[in-house]
């Protein structure tokens, strides 16, 4: 018994020493406040954000900001894990499709008090932009810029093939232009089989993809898989083998980057990253739509937000950083609208003359989309991630001819339906 107690004591001392060592390290920061900042992005975003953060720490010597970044899918894996562990980073990048889920679980701090007391200055920010990050009238996420779906293409190749790309193609036009380009240059066409295209297609007929899937409605999906099949069967299209290898989900390996294809699909704020990865000039056109579309499917979306974790011990300091990020011209001269056009009109005006031609192109593109855009779909339901993943394999099933469009539709809709039901 005594031996046991002695062991317990020794163990307690040992553990105490370990923990004491840990707290000593914390104290070594001389009473500085540490904020953790976490975002998803690409190499450029990582670089400019890091630079901006360093400038902030220079100007605010009592703040230490620890940064972490990941790519899109890795980001959400990590974030949910930290949320579960109760150690979510103080400031996190948030997306429109995840906002509801995180807010409903009480993980995001209410920013409204900070906006009201002026810690976050929004005098130059349009009301609608604050609203895009609000739930039930309370703001939980501060938008960092506007965004729109985009088809990226290589103007050198289209020129060589003697075709011009209008502001927005129809599917038939895309198909024909693809064939012409392949004939003239040997460069292939890519047709997006993923969730963004499904969304655009549904919107073209005045519907919403997740409403349809929740109701088990096959209308849009049958059209979608028929389109995927049609483009895949074209000689001009990239083969499923190559497409799988190149993996358009990752900017750096997109098939347009090494010139395997002349087009690709993404969001406008990824444009600069794609251009940089490709190392040659690219251009933008709106997402193509069906020839018999009844509504304009294009929409504007908040590119991403910053949110403050409810668990953060330094909400006030985090809010100050958000204010600086939003309103400092100096900061945005480093960021150069990489996350989208700055939401503060004053900042946007100040950096407009400074941005390079690619960013300028995005400014113009967002303007053009803004002129015709229809309202965005409601935030995506929980289960979107899994439905998106199943969509990717189903697209492969269609492209490798394992499924006919009809089989793909039946399988996909029933699986998506049951996922949405079970949420």
């Amino acid at each position: 018994m005594k031996k046991f107690i002695a062991i317990i004591l020794i163990v307690a001392i040992a553990v105490g020493t370990v923990f004491a060592g840990g707290s000593k390290e914390e104290a070594a920061d001389d009473g500085k406040i540490t904020l953790n900042l976490y975002w998803w992005g690409n190499q450029i975003r990582n670089d400019v954000t890091q630079k901006a953060v360093e400038l902030y720490m220079e100007q605010n010597p009592n703040i230490v900001i620890r940064t972490e970044f990941a790519d899109w899918s890795g980001y959400w894996d990590r974030l949910s894990a930290t949320a579960a562990g109760g150690n979510m980073p103080d400031i996190v990048q948030m997306d429109y499709s995840y906002l509801n889920q995180y807010q409903q679980n009480g993980l995001l701090a209410d920013l409204t008090p900070f906006i009201e007391d002026g810690t976050i200055d929004v005098t130059n920010v349009p009301e609608s932009i604050i609203a895009s990050g609000s739930v039930d009238g309370r703001c939980y996420a501060l938008s960092l810029g506007s965004n729109a779906p985009v088809m990226v293409y290589d103007p050198a190749i289209t020129e060589a093939a003697g075709v011009t790309i209008p502001d927005q193609l129809t599917f038939d036009q895309l198909y024909e232009i693809g064939e012409t380009i392949y004939e003239k240059t040997g460069v292939r066409t890519y047709f997006d089989g993923g969730i963004n295209m499904m969304q655009i297609l549904a919107r073209s007929y005045g519907s919403h993809i997740f409403d349809e899937l929740a109701a088990g409605d096959e209308t849009t999906m049958l059209k979608h898989w028929t389109n995927v099949k049609r483009f895949n069967d074209s000689e001009a299209s990239i083969s499923p083998d190559l497409l799988s290898e190149k993996n358009p989900d990752i900017v750096e390996t997109k098939p347009i980057v090494d010139g395997t294809t002349w087009n690709d699909f993404s969001y406008s704020n990824q444009f600069i990253a794609i251009v940089n990865a490709a190392g040659r000039p690219l251009a933008m056109s709106m997402y193509p739509m069906p020839d018999d579309a009844v509504e304009q499917p294009m929409f504007l979306k908040p590119s991403q937000f910053f949110s403050i974790a409810e668990t953060s011990a330094h909400k006030e300091e985090a809010a100050k950083f958000l204010d600086w990020f939003t309103n400092s011209v100096e900061c945005n001269e480093i960021l150069m609208a990489e996350r989208g056009i700055p939401i503060s009109t004053a900042v946007a005006e100040a950096i407009m003359p400074l941005v390079d031609e690619n960013t300028q192109a995005i400014f113009e593109y967002i303007d053009a989309v803004g002129a015709i855009a229809t309202p965005i779909d409601a935030p995506d339901p929980a289960g979107k991630g899994e439905i998106e993943a199943i969509g990717k394999t189903t697209a492969e099933d269609v492209r490798y001819n394992t499924y006919t469009p009809e089989e793909a539709t039946a399988d996909y809709v029933s699986r998506a339906h049951s996922i949405l039901q079970s949420q």
């Binding site: 002695a6 894990a81 492969e396």
Partner: protein
């Protein structure tokens, strides 16, 4: 303790004596041992046993990480076995990977070990070189290197073209070849098994070979009648180790192929990870984890039971 205090002075003397023995006891090897293993025990409890117990509990719940788990009984297992084609795809892919990569890796390791067991000046260098892939093997950098090597315009195709084979296969883009790029990567990482084989080979008594020489046995017979039987305990150990490792493979699939194409390289662990963290279905992920434990446990048990049939222990 408290009732001891009530006793008279005589008792105190005895107590003091006991304290002496306690001080002595503190100096015994057993106590030293406990102290040394204490840190491990704490780590083992807090990072293995407690999380495992929690995961067992989660396996019977619907748990999205962000809000509290809800008990749903065997629903997760029912969903897994009856309503989730991807689950079976990932199970099949992992089985395929294990069935081919484990024996091939062991054979590779044994062959190289046989070559390196001879004494020569360079053998140390060679051992280090052959072991190197195992150290860097499961790293992200190698995974990315592998993806580039097997790209349609990668070095593998270039090499094939250089020797006159006009090959433009997208190795990673075909359901029949993508998994093999991962298997080859696994076989390449034979280093740790090789080291164990080397140790095993050195323990075979030289006298056996001397007798074989006297009897005029050829190298072939020597290998199959002496080396192989004497090495069976080492083979057995390696087999169990590599089998478990094989089922735990993650990085290759996660980084190189991400399950593409058509989930043909979606390893069980990757799908488990996706469920747990990407789809926020932690309960389901835990259920998958426990199914895997049962499978690996059963296979290990079968192997242990089969020992009498093929493993030769000298003593």
């Amino acid at each position: 303790m408290s009732d001891k205090k009530k006793k008279g002075p005589q008792r105190t003397v005895i107590l003091r004596k006991r304290e002496m023995t306690l001080a002595q006891k503190m100096n015994t090897q057993a106590v030293a041992g406990y102290v040394f293993v204490a840190l491990f025990i704490i780590g083992f409890l807090s990072f293995m046993i407690i999380p495992m117990a929690m995961s067992f509990g989660f396996a019977f719940t619907r748990y999205n990480i962000l809000s509290a788990p809800r008990f749903i009984g065997l629903e997760n297992f029912k969903e897994m076995f009856t309503n989730d084609p991807v689950f079976w795809q990932s199970f099949k892919a992992t089985m395929y990977y294990v069935v081919f990569s484990v024996p091939m890796r062991l054979i590779m390791a044994l062959v190289i070990a046989l070559l390196l067991v001879r004494k020569s000046k360079a053998s140390g260098v060679y051992r280090a070189l052959f072991y190197l892939p195992s150290i860097v093997g499961s790293s992200v950098a190698v995974a990315i290197l592998w993806r580039r090597m097997f790209a349609s315009d990668g070095v593998i195709n270039s090499m094939l073209q250089a020797v006159g084979i006009n090959c433009e296969i997208a190795w990673l883009g075909r359901t029949d070849t993508a998994i093999w790029t991962l298997i080859i990567l696994a076989v390449w990482q034979f280093g740790s098994s090789m080291l164990i084989f080397l140790a095993g080979l050195k323990q075979i008594p030289v006298s056996l070979y001397e007798v074989a020489d006297v009897e005029g046995a050829n190298p072939f017979t020597r290998f199959f009648k002496i080396t192989l039987p004497m090495l069976t305990p080492t083979i057995f150990f390696n087999l169990i180790n590599q089998l478990i490792n094989g089922f735990m493979a993650f990085t290759q699939s996660y980084i190189i192929t991400q399950g593409r194409p058509r989930n043909s390289t979606l390893f069980y662990t990757v799908y488990m990870y996706q469920n747990s963290f990407t789809y926020n279905k932690m309960g389901y992920g835990c259920a998958m984890a426990w199914f895997m434990i049962v499978i690996v446990g059963a296979l290990t048990l079968i192997l242990f039971k089969s020992q009498n049939k093929w493993v030769y222990y000298e003593s």
